[in-house]
Amino acid sequence: MSKITKIPIGPFHIGLEEPIYFKIDIEGESVKNVDMINGFVHRGIEYLAMQKNFFQNLILTERVCSLCSNNHPFTYVMAVEKIANIKPTKRALYLRVVADEVKRVASHMFNLSMLAHLVGFHTLMTQTMEAREIVQDIKESIWGNRMDMSANTLTGVKYDVDKEQIDYILKRLKELEPQVDEIMDVYFNNKIVKARTKGVGVLPYEDALRLGVTGPTARGSGVMNDVRIKAPYAAYDELKPKIIIEKDGDVYSRTKVRWREVKDSIRLIRLALKNLPQGKVVLQKRPHIPAGEAVSRSEAPRGELIYYLKTNGLQKPERMRWRVPTYMNWESLRVMIPGNKLTDVAVIFNSIDPCISCTER
């Protein structure tokens, strides 16, 4: 009878980007069971948010996460606007989409390059990161920062684009797209990538439904719950994102979903800039926020992000609560990991695009 060996990984480990403690039971080479312990970066940000006023919370929410930083203030302002019953101008809504889709491209490409790194294909990783640098340049040129773009504000956006800036974004996207096509082809067809991702970390459709997973993790298993399509917000009802879905539920499927979303995001940015309506970018400098409660949702790069806000007529929220996509996707690792080889654990872990800092807040 073979012996079961316990291997601890984390909470601080060179193979992990963020602190999490895995306890893995292996028999021979394959994983029998996995246990996960969280809570190493719980910082009580929800409590902090209730001590800050509505404008200070714009700054705070943007810092909950780094790769989906834009989605937090985006969803938060939608909740505030709902309570105040203010709908921003169409121009502001389109500009919100532009900022969000740029962020999605950058986030997905970062995750995909990490996949290349984990399967040991380092030239592919550097190539992906190099192409992603174009998106980072766009962010830096238009919003003045490579990570936190500070694009959203109450009742509108903080930035506007003129013709020169639109031309610049379109020019850079034209540079990016052929590179994306070329790299995508490698991820889809290269032998090494396929050998390490196909049939690895399978999340069956039924489990994806049962666990309520979101984002590319759900869509890789055939569950369509893209908030941009199911409950459109901002300008997504007019821009119509494509339904992107894969059925196999393995790491390869999730990779394919992310790449196809990168392509669709590029299309959406172009479409939004082409149809950009005229008008103000912000409606009121200091809107009155009455007492009330609201829930708003958006599709962050990793999946559904939800904000619940309750106000009592004062300058600070009475209660603010949010849930990030990784919070739901986490439990799916218990389904994906057992039965695979130990060397695949990091690849599978990366395939849900985990963000621990924002999960624990």
């Binding site: 012996k3 079961i4 316990k6 601890p8 909470p11 601080f12 602190p19 969280n38 809570g39 190493f40 970066v41 719980h42 910082r43 009580g44 929800e46 409590y47 939608m78 606007e81 709902k82 019953n85 709908k87 439904l209 049962r210 666990l211 309520g212 719950n225 908030v227 199911k230 409950a231 459109p232 917000y233 901002a234 009802d237 409660e293 609201a294 829930v295 708003s296 949702r297 559904e304 939800i306 619940y308 309750k310 009475e318 209660r319 609560r321 849930r323 919070y327 739901m328 986490w330 439990e331 624990e360």
Partner: protein
């Protein structure tokens, strides 16, 4: 289509709950998406609601807890094919039945309000701590807590000492 689904959900709720035990209203947000707001007067009815959501193939998105005067209030946010069902339940005895046996997607969020607010949870299949260490009391959100302690000792050497001591425990078990 969404309108038909909304009507079906509301009809199902009316069928399964007693007439005087709830308030229901539905609204459109600024972008035309449907949200249903339901207030339950009997906390046990949440189990019926969870079953309805399961029957429609829905999921639990999140549960928000907050303190109102001397008791806690829970707001369940449940999703049925893009329609958001928000269910408010006031907990006068600080106790609630777990919906995790019905909707697995509620697992984490129930454990979170249990440890953050100290709400008693009945029949949860896995009532382990989620984020906070066992040594930290439940209901911590209302208290002052130093960062190093909240981070499970990650900023000091205490966490390493704990892991080291538990490692040997594991070896003995084998």
């Amino acid at each position: 289509m969404k309108e038909t689904l909304k009507r079906k959900i509301i009809a199902e709720i009316k069928e399964r709950l007693d007439k005087d035990k709830y308030d229901i209203k539905d609204e459109l947000d600024l972008y035309g998406n449907i949200q249903i707001w339901l207030k339950l007067y009997d906390r046990k009815d949440i189990l019926h609601i969870a079953q309805i959501v399961k029957d429609f193939g829905g999921r639990c998105v999140i549960i928000s807890a907050y303190k109102k005067d001397d008791h806690h209030v829970l707001v369940y946010h449940l999703d049925i094919d893009g329609i958001l069902l928000n269910v408010e339940v006031e907990l006068f005895d600080n106790t609630v039945d777990s919906i995790t046996p019905i909707l697995k997607s509620a697992d984490w969020t129930e454990r979170e309000f249990k440890e953050m607010f100290g709400i008693k949870l009945l029949n949860h299949p896995n009532p382990k701590r989620l984020f906070l260490d066992e040594s930290i009391a439940e209901g911590i959100l209302g208290e002052y807590m130093p960062l190093s302690q909240a981070m499970n000792g990650a900023a000091t050497c205490s966490m390493w000492e704990k892991i080291e001591s538990e490692r040997h425990k594991d070896e003995q078990n084998n």
